[in-house]
Symmetry: C2
Subunit: 345 residues, 2 copies
């Protein structure tokens, strides 16, 4: 079935009337230094003519560089990670690298995946976007001996990371709700123990304080990153004595859960309650009403991370530390001024 004999470097060399090593030099030497222009052209022409493709395996074996990046993500059926992967793939391919995707589903995670990739010399470096517990993750990654860049999270003592400016995004979002006239603003937080969740919570609190409002802890509820979490946390908020007039959800998932809970309780959005989320996804627009959102550059996160890792690998950078700013507010129908002061409660 696989009888298409692929042309080897030697074939190109023969066709050009030179030795394989010379052909190799021509095809690899970036600076194009140590080879005669005329020879170079002949080799290049032959390679082109024959449609030469270097055998990646052989090259990798020889150089101990596979030109492959690994990316470890906790889920694939999550638009956030899907977008990051799209960006990373694009950037990697543009620089001649391939991307190997690994699902690391269990939060506990016995770094099997990382080791499999590393020790088999499959990948040159790792993009890590998993949710593993901090200490064991650091240990595992160190154990692989591979360079790695954290994506969408930060870890103490790890110099290489790409994250969003969660603090500022949450701060600006809250400020927007304040500007509409809201005073009691609820927050469906993410994982408060995690980087993203804690930063967003802090930004939310900072905005309130800046407006002279003392953050009310009963208005904050850890809803995680699921619809269900948002649903339940919102129900609790609705049952409280003093309801908020607006909700800032840390993510689209929990925001959609909030919408569901509000709908079930007969609370109109945005008349009785404004809702907005951090992150803007295609579904934001499909929901009823469409959700106002603070947008983050998701694909760019993948691009920056992949490029950073490649820079690391190629010695073009010592460290990759990047905090990406948000892309601004997308105002949709789910937010309004708190006119109707009297909810039904």
């Amino acid at each position: 079935m696989k009888e298409i004999k692929s042309i080897r470097l030697k074939d190109v060399a023969t066709a050009a009337g030179v030795d394989a090593s010379t052909a190799s030099r021509v095809l690899n030497n970036e600076a194009g230094h140590r080879v005669a222009a005329e020879t170079r052209d002949r080799v290049l022409a032959a390679a082109e003519e024959l449609g030469y493709r270097p055998n990646v395996m052989a090259r990798a074996l020889r150089t101990a560089r596979s030109h492959t990046l690994g990316i470890a993500v906790p889920q694939l059926d999550n638009p956030v990670f899907a977008q990051i992967i799209i960006g990373a793939t694009t950037a990697a391919q543009a620089r001649g690298y391939e991307l190997l995707i690994s699902l690391v589903e269990q939060v506990a995670g016995g770094g099997g995946v990382y080791n499999r990739l590393a020790h088999a010399s499959r990948v040159d470096g790792l993009l890590v976007a998993t949710l593993d517990e901090e200490a064991s993750l650091k240990r595992t990654l160190a154990g692989t001996g591979l360079p790695y860049v954290l994506v969408n999270r930060k870890l103490r003592g790890v110099p290489n990371y790409v994250v969003h400016d969660n603090f500022e995004a949450a701060r600006a979002s809250t400020e927007f709700l304040l500007s509409l006239g809201h005073r009691r603003i609820g927050h469906l937080a993410g994982r408060i123990s995690g980087y993203n969740g804690s930063q967003r919570l802090a930004g939310y609190q900072a905005a309130l304080k800046a407006a002279g409002i003392d953050p009310d802890p009963t208005l904050v509820s850890e809803a995680g990153y699921t619809m269900d979490g948002g649903f339940r946390a919102t129900q609790v908020m609705l049952a409280a004595k003093k309801r908020p007039t607006a909700i800032l959800a840390a993510t689209v998932m929990s925001g959609s859960g909030a919408l569901k809970a509000l709908h079930a309780a007969g609370v109109r959005v945005p008349e009785d309650m404004s809702v907005m989320t951090i992150h803007d996804l295609p579904i934001s627009e499909m929901l009823q009403p469409p959700l106002t959102a603070m947008r983050f550059p998701l694909q760019e996160m993948g691009i920056v991370a992949a490029n950073g890792l490649i820079d690391l690998l190629e010695g073009k950078a010592e460290t990759v530390a990047c905090v990406l700013p948000h892309e601004g507010l997308i105002v949709r129908a789910s937010t309004a001024s708190p006119r109707a002061r009297s909810a039904r409660a």
Copy 2:
């Protein structure tokens, strides 16, 4: 940075007091034939002890098999493909293969991707879920000389494919709407020229005919696989003289667009109009109202395809042709009997 010296086969052999070739035999021989039990145990113990991982590149170079599968998809930020990939990854890893993902975005596609993967000997075979035009895709794939399995589509003359039973799913969905009492059922079709779209349309028509209803062509509209397509197609249906009382959308995306259009027009769901979709996704539950859906086994499609391709590669199968049945109806709040005969139009 990469100073962790990985142990080679030779190290294991030395530790076990045998030659590398013997160690290789032990570690590879499936039947465990031609080696002394005692020697075998010693080698296995040594490998275990040292935590030996074969160098994939070296093995690939020698055997001309990379133990890597390629999967070409048109989008990643589409739950359908995400699920397929999850299934394929899982199955591949379980059998010792890795999965390389390629985005082939352009419908026209100059098979660059396929060739890059094939000629560089990166992958042993291809899972193809792209939307490329039929003739050129077949030509390109043949050109790679690689075995491949079509996923979620069929092509004349290509013996290897895994698809869903689109016809039956659409037929059963339509039958369900009929059983609720609907007689005028609209269909938001996918790409009618494509395999999935045409099959679903045919199933829809078959159910109507079986119920003694002559399919009304004005009730069918090609909406594609986007929210926008569904939105527009639904608007057209609403403007028609005789509206349907129910809509069967070929996909969740177009179904959500339908919901949007209905909402904008003040048509209540399900009181004035029932809506259901083929495919069930997480967002189906987030929408308002949650959408009744005919569920397909998406991950399983990836699993079956990956296993089939590996069987092909390992000579365990001559051909992979599989039509997966649907997983049944998920009835939610978007469908009901057509009580309110008088819509407002």
